[in-house]
Symmetry: C2
Subunit: 463 residues, 2 copies
């Protein structure tokens, strides 16, 4: 954008939002130039709307000046969803953090997009309820980002993903239309399901200004198993057995050898038996009286060839340490390698062992360190190729490995992303999974919601 | 359509599908001229495609001749969703009833739209699984219709609706594009959620040719309570109490006095205590050892002002009789009145008592018989205004009552339809709930999927 254009637009943004909500100082621009990916791009300005009316107003200004808007909640995404593009303006939802309504009797909460995800859960728990989706970033990510990417987390194996807990939305489309979707009840079929069309659309169709989320009765108690295996494949076979019996765990997390090393470096699980190559963290929740039955059923399924040890966590601090280390894994892995290529693939659980075996082969063939962990109960694996960006040979190996990984995932009946989304990082791989005619439909939907193409350009779809 | 045009189109349909799949005889046309509503309209032809390729081919013919297509599965809908329009051709999916894949290990089934809903559930149960959505019509409706309307049923209070059990779809849009949406895994965020955009779109965007549905472990056991109340309001207050404690029942069905009379006429619940004005059927499911705890918690919540009797069903035949009568209620009510205006409204459960009190007042004020029953745990009430179509005064009262009912439902934070859909019957009320800008978006989405407006015209949106 030219300086003159920017000045005119900036003046209009200031008129719309007030001078204290339009930032163009270098420090702020630098701060908002990146998300959790390794890339960065300075926006021309950062806006901090405080209300739905502000969002309506700023979209009008953007339309008038043809300025790209990059919505941002917590900025903790993994695929470049909140990454600015050249000449864009970041719309930070950090100041829209009101809880508009909390209705414990009807088990819903109406929140603004800047509310921290964990805060929703915490408030719900004060009334015996909980908010099931629990991305690793829950303590600092914001619900707006969760809605944009359809975030999940360990509990998804039993409780489902963000999409399953959104009853309705208020939003402003890229054309400036103010819309309300869905309802406040657990049933409703009045018109096309725009709610779920917007969830996971990565801010490319509309800016969400309010969400009505569904809550559930909080489980009374929880029990945690830590199970060690002599190989990745043995652990994945155990996962398949668990998901073929009736007790659905509320977490079924897989960690390979390198992940174990990372959580051990963080002080957790330092007492594993010799020969441990893979670890499962398995949790059950429900009423206290029913937990022994669940744990017995899960344990029976977890035992089998290659199992070395099965331990029930003895106390809450042991469980907390284990989870803290697990949730910090993504960051821990990042500390090991200056560049990690972090994938988020999913296969049907019965094929997980095949996927892991394929990844083992890739690692052997290329000599590239690979760290795999993830929500195995959903068949969702975070595969991290550890690359030194200065090493062109490694980069080449990583690129080839990615192609091979994706091909295998699709051959096994899987999908390219389970919970991170597409953003900029996987956009160019979409065609491997989504056929041309379906992709055309995504584009025409985008064009209807956002005719000028101003909302988060280059994310999910190429610009 | 003119005779000449029809003849040319018919010849092309025969070329596309074979002569044995294109019916134009008067008997067939009459048979396919109506659904469960009181209306009828003869189509110009009825097509019986047997494969995805047939559907692709017939859409091409329809596009070439600009012929409206009315998709139809079981024809058991309540809102005119499968009702032909003048000059239209019915596409019956009855011959597409293959189970393409059943994968018990990964808990999914890939089915064609003509598969009977109950058959999915039955097949799943042979492997210890079940398909949760259970509309009253499950023994004869077909999954294609359930997908079109986002069908539900009693179990929705615990397990959710059709939308929650669809992982992916194959479909042909009104533009003739062949698309695949979603995936076969329980997680997946690759692109906009076209799967859930199509579910509930009432055949107005695309013809679904395959669906991948998610299955769950079948509960081991079930227990049923029958609870009598001295008033509708007392019963609804009990519903609100049940939905505020932690045990979620797998059915929480409400029946008012006239519904009770109908199920008693069918031979069920003939032993109710004197003064019973409302009945709740409450079910819990899970493992056998945990049921007593669930039943104790539910019973505690169900007891209160106006409760007359709480009985646990003693045996399976008693439960079966109760359910059979409950599931036949919709038809039984139809037998009583030549015309019933059957509504399907939803309010937050905490407001159900207010809604029912309002309906009581409406009935008193107008002298119109009203029969109410439904899935109270979701706040979903089927309100039937019993009208003699020859009585213009009654018709007028019914129309006024409908307006009053809808206004009350929306004032209570509810929605116009919980599970029946919009079809032709509620289309003209959509604007009461969906604002103009949101409605415009529905229209532009429709225009993109179906530029000629050939798919189920006049349903959900006005033609």
């Amino acid at each position: 954008m030219s300086t003159a254009l920017l000045a005119a637009a900036q003046a209009d943004f200031v008129t719309a939002l007030g001078a204290d909500r339009v930032f163009t100082d270098p420090d702020t621009l630098t701060l908002y130039s990146h998300d959790e990916t390794a890339k960065a791009c300075r926006p021309d300005a950062v806006l901090f709307p405080a209300s739905h009316a502000h969002v309506v107003a700023l979209v009008k200004v953007a339309l008038a000046h043809h300025i790209a808007l990059v919505p941002r909640a917590g900025g903790s995404g993994n695929v470049g969803g909140a990454l600015p593009v050249t000449g864009s303006v970041v719309v930070s939802f950090e100041c829209m953090r009101r809880i508009i309504e909390f209705n414990p009797a009807d088990r819903y909460m109406v929140v603004e997009p800047g509310v921290v995800t964990a805060d929703i859960d915490q408030l719900a728990r004060q009334h015996g309820l909980f908010y099931p989706p629990d991305p690793g970033s829950a303590p600092y990510c914001r619900i707006g980002g969760n809605l944009a990417m359809n975030a999940a987390g360990p509990r998804a194996v039993k409780y489902g993903v963000t999409r399953d807990y959104v009853l309705g939305l208020r939003a402003v489309t890229g054309a400036g239309a103010e819309i309300r979707t869905g309802c406040r009840t657990t049933k409703g079929v009045t018109g096309y399901d725009l709610t779920r069309l917007l969830v996971g659309s990565e801010g490319t169709l509309a800016l969400i200004t309010e969400a009505t989320v569904r809550l559930m009765p909080a489980p009374e108690a929880r029990a945690t198993l830590r199970v060690c295996y002599a190989s990745n494949v043995a652990a994945c076979q155990a996962v398949a057995r668990v998901m073929q019996q009736a007790v659905i765990p509320c977490a079924l997390e897989f960690m390979d050898q390198r992940s174990i090393a990372a959580i051990q470096a963080a002080g957790a699980a330092t007492d594993l038996p010799h020969g441990t190559q893979a670890l499962l963290m398995v949790e059950a929740d429900g009423v206290t009286t029913d937990l022994p039955r669940q744990i017995a059923a899960l344990s029976a399924a977890l035992r089998g060839d290659g199992m070395l040890q099965l331990l029930e966590a003895a106390n809450a601090s042991e469980v907390a340490a284990l989870w803290q280390a697990r949730k910090a894994l993504s960051h821990a892995v990042k500390r090991i390698a200056p560049l990690k290529i972090n994938e988020d693939v999913v296969v049907p659980v019965s094929r997980l062992a095949e996927l892991v075996a394929h990844i083992d082969t890739l690692a052997l063939d290329t000599g590239l360190p690979v760290v795999s962990f993830g929500h195995a109960g959903n068949g969702n694996l975070h595969v991290n190729f550890m690359v030194d960006p200065a090493n062109s040979r490694q980069l080449e190996h990583a690129r080839a490995s990615l192609q091979s990984l994706f091909a295998k995932v699709l051959a096994l009946g899987g999908t390219l992303s389970g919970e991170h989304g597409i953003g900029t990082e996987k956009r160019d791989y979409m065609h491997l999974e989504v056929d041309a005619q379906t992709m055309d439909l995504l584009r025409v939907i985008k064009a209807q919601f956002d005719p000028q193409g101003l909302l988060n350009p280059g994310k999910l779809l190429s610009a």
